[in-house]
């Protein structure tokens, strides 16, 4: 694996980079998917990554997660990132707290898992099976499982894409709260322009294996980037009568 994990002890609330990517190259047999990409995400920063299907955004996320080998460049992350996938990926044979505690190396994993489940509003379902959960609930457990690791980098791979609109909006609120409490750097890969506008401090648009557009949201009163502007960056030209 080519992810360089620098040995370093750091408390979760420290500021500084959650991940620094320099000159990243990721290619399949004959096709270069990511071409010399640079990216830095700070702790506490929420970055949304937009792009057409096949532009390489999920490939980038998988590289950051250490799931795929990289062919060039460097990824420097102080700690192993946590990932929430589009599917909840809960182990059907483990109850909820065991799912959340998967891979957790602490004194009392059950108590820590219970804490995390309470945070996502499922503190009363510790012993329940995943199959008794709705899609939104399952995804909340997946969030708890990611956050219980106290990651400095949280990777979200279209985690709300399969949810209905109402549930998705509730999840947005929850994620915002969780991120505010835990202050990880977040990379959210999404198709949803509105989701990106609603959640992110910084919006990136990926095209042809590089980051082609970047917008830093200035909250507090300033006008946010318009939907149409982002959509045109994504190559969607709205119908106009003119």
């Amino acid at each position: 694996m080519n992810v360089h994990v620098a040995p370093q002890s750091s408390t979760p609330f420290e500021s500084g980079p959650a991940v620094v990517v320099s000159n990243l190259v990721r290619s399949y047999v004959s096709r270069v998917v990511i071409e010399k990409l640079n990216l830095r995400i700070d702790r506490g920063e929420f970055v949304a990554l937009l792009g057409e299907s096949g532009c390489g955004k999920t490939t980038l996320l998988r590289a950051l997660a250490g799931l795929d080998p990289i062919q060039g460049g460097r990824i420097v992350a102080p700690r192993r990132p946590a990932v929430v996938f589009q599917e909840h990926r809960l182990l059907p044979w483990d109850n909820l707290w065991r799912n959340v505690a998967l891979g957790l190396q602490v004194q009392d994993p059950r108590a820590r898992a219970a804490e995390a489940l309470t945070e996502v509003g499922l503190g009363d379902r510790l012993e329940d099976w995943p199959r008794n959960l709705s899609g939104g609930q399952a995804q909340r457990v997946a969030l708890a499982r990611a956050l219980v690791q106290q990651p400095e980098l949280l990777l979200l791979d279209e985690p709300f894409a399969a949810l209905d609109a109402l549930t998705r909006i509730r999840m947005h609120q929850l994620v915002r709260e969780l991120v505010a409490n835990h202050q990880p750097g977040v990379l959210l890969v999404t198709h949803d322009v509105d989701e990106a506008i609603a959640l992110a401090d910084r919006i990136l648009v990926m095209r042809n294996g590089v980051i082609a557009f970047e917008h830093r949201a200035v909250r507090d009163g300033s006008t946010p980037i318009s939907r149409a502007e982002l959509l045109s960056e994504l190559g969607v030209v709205p119908h106009s009568a003119s």
Partner: protein
């Protein structure tokens, strides 16, 4: 060899293609709900009980020769007599012990080979073809060779049972391991599990439904192998009892041994199902709470 190309997500491995109706049938068909669970339970017993009553009546009326098929009451009396004065319980014990020993050995070998092949393509290349070939040999064809090797003692019988048990356990273990969801394995890596934790937390639980199907099928083949083994050169056991009874034309004893085989088969299946319910409580198709 394609029967170990295991990528389809299909729980039905060998032996699972004929599940007992009572288990796999959807529970809430319209008529079933009218009868209620007890009613359905009762209904399932009507046919066998009726059959025994008709059989008894025919025998009592003298339409069935006792030489051909003795009355059920006669078989029960014989069972009682053999159990109290004869060697029935001893023979039963001997047979069960052989089956248990053979099963333990065969299951261990099958599971070990299955885990090895399940995890390693190299092990698969080295082992799988041979196991598949051995699997294709019928018990009766192997019997003479086994007797030449091991004589007609206990070893030969236990060996045959073990041989019959190994392959279903092996095949279903490999299948179970191979069809564990790769997305869950990926998750395990993301959560930082070690290889050992990956096996314990994800691969083995994921393979368990398939392995238990193998256990269930193996229990049936263990019995089958035992019958074959005990009908030749045995000095004790249920099979010996059958052969002995044939010599003396004791049809009642022959029928009794057949009934015993059937009962033990049913009991073995009940054990397998109990294991499934306990170990697969999380699984929507097996768990007790639906």
């Amino acid at each position: 060899m394609s029967n170990i190309e295991l990528s389809q997500v299909d729980r039905t491995a060998i032996g699972a293609d004929n599940p007992p109706l009572s288990q796999r049938r959807p529970r809430s068909s319209a008529t079933a709900s009218k009868l209620g669970a007890r009613g359905v339970q009762l209904l399932s017993w009507i046919a066998p009980v009726l059959l025994v009553i008709v059989w008894e009546a025919l025998a009592d009326a003298g339409w069935l020769s006792p030489q051909v098929l003795p009355a059920p009451s006669k078989v029960i009396r014989t069972a009682f007599k053999l159990a109290t004065t004869g060697s029935l319980l001893n023979d039963l014990g001997v047979s069960l012990l052989r089956a248990a020993a053979g099963f333990a050995i065969g299951a261990t070998v099958g599971a070990a080979l299955g885990v090895l092949v399940g995890f390693s393509r190299i092990a698969e290349a080295a082992i799988d073809r041979s196991v598949q070939m051995i699997r294709a040999i019928p018990f009766l064809a192997a019997l003479p060779l086994v007797i030449v090797w091991l004589g007609v003692g206990e070893a030969e019988k236990i060996f045959l049972v073990a041989l019959g048990v190994t392959s279903p356990i092996y095949i279903n273990t490999v299948l179970g391991i191979r069809q564990v969801d790769p997305k869950l394995l990926e998750l395990g890596r993301v959560q930082g599990l070690s290889s050992l934790q990956l096996i314990r937390r994800i691969i083995l639980p994921g393979a368990l439904p398939s392995i238990l199907t193998g256990v269930r099928y193996a229990l049936a083949t263990a019995w089958l192998a035992l019958v074959v083994a005990e009908t030749i050169g045995a000095q004790s056991g249920i099979g010996f009892l059958t052969m002995d009874a044939r010599e003396f034309l004791r049809t009642d004893v022959i029928v009794l041994t057949i009934v015993i085989y059937a009962l033990i088969g049913v009991a073995a299946d009940a054990i397998a199902r109990f294991l499934e319910r306990r170990l697969l409580a999380w699984h929507p198709n097996y768990g007790a709470e639906r």
